[in-house]
């Protein structure tokens, strides 16, 4: 059956679930008594246990980063362009671990899971997570898998923030940190977009204060709007222009407000529609909060260099020219802090028209540099 998959694919993969019974203390002061983490692995852990790579996902990501769950899957995992035999994260060399973060809605404990105390879904009662909380939970997963030190922790966007946090929270457990299309903290504009998304969800009559599951409904409208706003920030003006321009869906203008006229409207509605059917509204709220709260330098009066000084990892920082959500300037803030802290690093600013989403795309220069960096990691 595996012959049906492309040569450079990890092929058929099966997610696994680990239960953690030890309570996890959270940044909010609350505690998660016990929880599940769902994850996938690709490649083989070597005898020295020195070839493990952790993949951290972004806002709407999950554990299924590469390969296929069945021969019928139309699409592989979300980062299949970068993970597989011979790819940037070469599964012939590395043992790759990819999980769904706590608070997610793809199998790890989150707002849509059953709260053991009440027997009902957590809903709005699920504690707010931070990037730091996630990293602590990921460290527990590493312990369970017998991984003392990651060869690399890798992530794009919110995933890049987790990779950076790893080097701060567990400096001795990370040899390389790859932060792609990321930022050291959100700007006011970033937070503003997140707030619009949250308000869309919170004000949906079907939201029911976050306990919509018990009512047997979902705040579809709100989630759809949130995704539509988010999606605009993932693409560049050029990418949208190239893809849709002012192209019309209808034959002519209708001079009304209900018809889908422009291609871009149709695309956004489709994206929103599709997303609202598969994603949990409470998870979306939680993910945006984790983004907003991320600011590791705050503990050192905003001094990022001082914050990263304790990191023992080498860094690879990559940005994309048309990314306006986390622009190259934001990556340069990370780079400047790293040079001040005298860390080994390489920084690339990839010329790409795709905007923030570029980190998921097979852009030749990006993949080549990413591969080169990963290939020189000694195991």
């Amino acid at each position: 059956m595996s012959t049906a998959f492309p040569q450079d694919s990890v092929g058929l993969v099966t997610p696994q679930v680990l239960h953690f019974a030890e309570p996890l203390s959270l940044a909010s002061g609350r505690t998660l008594a016990n929880y599940d983490l769902i994850y996938e692995t690709y490649g083989e852990l070597n005898a020295a246990r020195s070839n493990a790579v952790l993949i951290c996902h972004a806002l709407s990501g999950h554990h299924h980063a590469a390969g296929y769950h069945s021969a019928e899957d139309r699409k592989p995992g979300w980062w299949d362009s970068c993970i597989g035999p011979g790819k940037a994260i070469d599964t012939n060399r590395f043992f790759v671990v990819s999980l769904n973060n706590l608070g997610g809605c793809n199998g790890s404990t989150g707002p849509s899971s059953i709260n053991p105390e009440t027997g009902k879904p957590f809903g709005a009662d699920f504690p707010v997570m931070t990037v730091e909380c996630w990293v602590h939970s990921q460290a527990r997963l590493a312990d369970a898998l017998g991984i003392e030190q990651w060869a690399a922790v890798v992530g794009g966007s919110l995933g890049g923030m987790q990779a950076m946090q790893w080097t701060i929270s567990y400096p001795e457990r990370v040899r390389h940190c790859v932060a792609i299309a990321s930022a050291p903290k959100l700007s006011a504009q970033n937070i503003a977009f997140n707030e619009v998304a949250r308000q869309a969800i919170l004000t949906d009559p079907e939201f029911h204060g976050g306990h919509f599951q018990e009512q047997g409904v979902i705040p579809k409208r709100g989630l759809m709007l949130a995704r539509m706003v988010g999606h605009i920030t993932y693409l560049s003006d050029d990418a949208m222009g190239e893809k849709f321009g002012r192209g019309l869906k209808s034959e002519k203008l209708n001079y009304d407000f209900h018809s889908v006229e422009f291609q871009v409207e149709s695309y956004l509605r489709y994206q929103g529609e599709e997303f609202s059917g598969r994603f949990d509204a409470n998870t979306y709220l939680l993910m945006t909060k984790a983004l907003d709260y991320f600011d590791p330098a705050a503990a050192n009066d905003g001094d990022l260099a001082k914050t990263l000084a304790k990191a023992q990892a080498d860094f690879c920082v990559i940005s994309f020219t048309t990314d306006w959500r986390f622009s190259p300037q934001r990556s340069r803030e990370i780079v400047d802090a790293l040079t001040s802290a005298r860390k080994n690093l390489c920084y690339l600013e990839i010329d790409a028209p795709q905007g923030h989403d570029a980190f998921l795309m097979p852009i030749p220069r990006y993949l080549q540099a990413f591969s080169s960096y990963m290939n020189r990691i000694t195991l």
């Binding site: 220069r365 540099a369 080169s372």
Partner: protein, 204 residues
């Protein structure tokens, strides 16, 4: 190693911190790291060069020199190196000033437009010099700010920089008697070690 780099490495103390502006394929930094325990960063904008740096494990930062060195603190490097890039930047005066600010000493190499062959070419043909060594025509050359040794030394004077060492060499980086007697006429490439006014104050 490239001949000019071989001369330069002699001017870089073991164990020092080096910033290499326009570091190319990272050859100098890799050599200094492996042979002199130098910790350095290279700035580069050419994608192929950056890729080679990544391959070599050289610390490379994609950064345009024309945008300055504002992200580096005063005196944060022992040596700031810039080889064969002075004539290619938009603001050679600004970059020199920045180098003097960031580095305790600076090493700069550039082609000498006052070399007799350039002068002869311009005098006899009345056209901008083109040679094997500088093979571009005026409209497509990346070298947009040519200067002579004399010009460069005046710029150093204006910026109150001290010239600590000067070597005039030919295109094969030999420094014979000719380029010692009449460097601005007979030297093809200048290799300078300079230090900024503030750096001198700091160390004194």
């Amino acid at each position: 190693m490239r001949a000019d780099l071989d001369i330069i490495q002699d001017w870089i103390p073991a164990g020092s911190r080096v910033l290499d502006l326009g570091c190319g394929n990272g050859e100098l930094l890799a050599w200094l790291r492996d042979n002199k325990q130098v910790f350095g960063y290279g700035l580069e904008i050419d994608p192929d060069n950056i890729a080679e740096c990544v391959d070599k494990g050289v610390n490379v930062i994609e950064q345009d020199l024309d945008k300055g060195l504002g992200n580096f603190a005063d005196g944060s490097f022992d040596v700031v190196v810039m080889t064969q890039a002075l004539q290619a930047v938009h603001f050679p005066d600004r970059i020199l000033k920045e180098m003097l600010r960031v580095g305790k000493t600076c090493v700069i190499t550039f082609p000498n437009f006052g070399h007799w062959r350039c002068r002869w070419y311009l005098a006899t043909k009345g056209r901008m010099p083109v040679s094997d060594f500088l093979p571009y025509t005026w409209y497509n050359t990346p070298n947009i700010h040519f200067c002579t040794f004399e010009d460069f030394e005046r710029l150093c004077l204006e910026q109150q920089a001290t010239i600590l060492e000067r070597l005039a060499v030919d295109r094969d980086h030999r420094h014979g008697w000719a380029s010692k007697i009449l460097p601005n006429l007979l030297g093809e490439i200048g290799i300078y070690r300079v230090s900024g006014h503030s750096a001198m104050n700091r160390t004194s």
